[in-house]
């Protein structure tokens, strides 16, 4: 079998979707971990932090060579996941020209498992907004204020976040974006393992529980970020 045949078959395409999906899931762990450093400023931890931990973590991500190189891999993974997703969605929609009069609906499947294309599109729209808010500014413009810790100058991403998340509309968009991500993950996490051929009965329950657990924890942490800023749970206290 030629490689091209493998990757253009319906099963091969799903294998790529599953693999890139799991790669993006691994990125989410890093992303949520770095961003959660902002919570160091919460009054129950260290109100005098003023975003120090967050800024240093963001600086590390932006300045480390290996991570910058992985950034290219990440974009490649995202693009592959999106393009392949739309290719599959188009093929799948095209496989039934005449639909049913009475739909099966939720009898037998969850709405979000049938709406991965829509949820993915919402995440994509959110991603464009999100990248414009932070990543583009950090990498390509000089609009971010500098801040210095122990003589090392870096972007004050924390301050930028405080500005961005003061807009109620932005907070709402972020919450909705995260909810789309939650439902995408609720199906995608376990489905990705199925697509790459994991089927051991012994691990099924574990993977399902892990999937839901991961989805809830990651999404809640992401949602809490704009909310924490908006309600002044984090911010400059001096």
């Amino acid at each position: 079998m030629k490689w091209s045949d493998f990757f253009t078959s319906s099963v091969g395409k799903k294998f790529v979707m599953g693999l890139t999906g799991l790669f993006l899931i691994s990125f989410l762990i890093i992303h949520v971990g770095v961003n959660a450093c902002m919570f160091a400023d919460l009054s129950i931890f260290n109100p005098a932090d003023d975003g120090t931990m967050f800024n240093i973590a963001a600086h590390f991500m932006g300045s480390m060579v290996v991570i910058r190189l992985l950034e290219y891999v990440l974009f490649l993974g995202i693009i592959l996941h999106i393009v392949q997703g739309y290719v599959l969605e188009a093929k799948n929609r095209g496989s039934r020209s005449v639909g049913y009069d009475v739909k099966m609906g939720n009898r037998g499947s969850k709405w979000y498992s049938r709406s991965m294309g829509l949820l993915g599109t919402l995440i994509l729209l959110f991603l464009v907004i999100h990248l414009a808010h932070f990543w583009v500014k950090a990498r390509f413009t000089e609009s971010l204020e500098p801040v210095s810790y122990r003589g090392v100058e870096m972007h004050n991403m924390f301050k930028e976040m405080l500005i961005v998340f003061k807009e109620p509309l932005v907070v709402v968009i972020y919450v909705l974006g995260c909810i789309s991500l939650a439902y995408h993950l609720a199906h995608g996490f376990q489905s990705a393992f199925r697509s790459i051929g994991v089927h051991n009965k012994k691990y099924n329950l574990m993977l399902t529980s892990l999937g839901y657990g991961f989805t809830i924890i990651v999404t809640l942490l992401f949602i809490l970020m704009p909310i924490a800023v908006y309600f002044d749970w984090v911010g400059y206290h001096n």
Binding site: V11, R96, K110, S195, G197, V198
Partner: protein, 252 residues
């Protein structure tokens, strides 16, 4: 359960042939016994239509015992009707009450073109089987049945997969018209047994290639297929197929 009779309104898909656009026709049936099967109710309706000089409704049926996989009605938005793990022929009219309206449609998938009314062409499944759903057996004396040791768990899993009757309800239920539960069952059935080992890798590659050629969609693991399967074929067969395909695709 006590016997009762009922009058029903049936909204049934009528389509002269594959070129015809098709439409719904509404029929009234009276004195339907709760003891009848769904197909017997259709027999009553068809006799009525023949008496009236009208065209009877074409529908597939054969064994009427739930084992051949020929019957194929999409009833009120669900393949094989409202009962779990059941075929249309084994659906009985006690599932309905007097005055009910029932909508009956054919399997909808481009790979299953409508031949007439509720009859669809499922020969795509036959071609998938021909592509690899077989084993090679040497002629000569029959080998002793116990000569090949088979792991009990694998034998059970293989048997459960072999229960697939190829009715196509999985395709009908799937939003993508994917045939992967069917192909997964057929691949699993043989991949788990030593008898299926010689053709194991080519089988999965060829069957998936044929499945794609037939125009079925890709699996997105919604689970609708498993929910409507009259033989309760497990979604884990799809995962096994993916694993088999990956192993074969990487090696061959």
């Amino acid at each position: 359960m006590e016997h009762y009779t009922m009058s029903l309104t049936l909204k049934v898909w009528k389509q002269q042939n594959s070129q015809d656009k098709g439409r719904f026709e509404t029929y009234q049936v009276k004195d339907i016994s709760s003891e009848m099967s769904f197909l017997e109710m259709f027999d009553v309706l068809n006799e009525q239509l023949i008496r009236e000089g009208k065209d009877p409704i074409a529908f597939d049926h054969d064994c009427r015992e739930g084992i051949c996989g020929t019957c194929s009605m999409y009833i009120d938005g669900r393949p094989h009707g409202p009962w779990h793990a059941n075929t249309t022929c084994q659906l009985h009219m006690r599932a309905y009450k007097d005055g009910d309206t029932i909508v009956v449609e054919p399997w909808r998938a481009n790979a299953f073109p409508v031949i007439k009314d509720l009859v669809v062409d499922r020969s795509a499944f036959d071609r998938i089987i021909q592509a690899g759903g077989y084993i090679s057996v040497n002629t000569g004396n029959a080998v002793d049945a116990n000569a090949l040791p088979v792991d009990k768990d694998k034998a059970d899993a293989s048997f459960a997969a072999a229960a697939c009757i190829g009715c196509g309800a999985c395709v009908a239920a799937c939003k993508n018209s994917s045939a992967l539960l069917f192909v997964g069952a057929k691949v699993s059935h043989l991949a788990l047994l030593p008898q299926g080992d010689p053709e194991r890798k080519n089988r999965v590659l060829n069957m998936v290639a044929q499945m794609d050629r037939e125009g079925f969609g890709a699996c997105t693991a919604t689970g609708a297929c498993e929910a409507v399967c009259p033989k309760e074929i497990s979604l884990s067969n799809i995962s096994r197929l993916n694993k088999e395909y990956l192993a074969a695709g990487l090696e061959k």
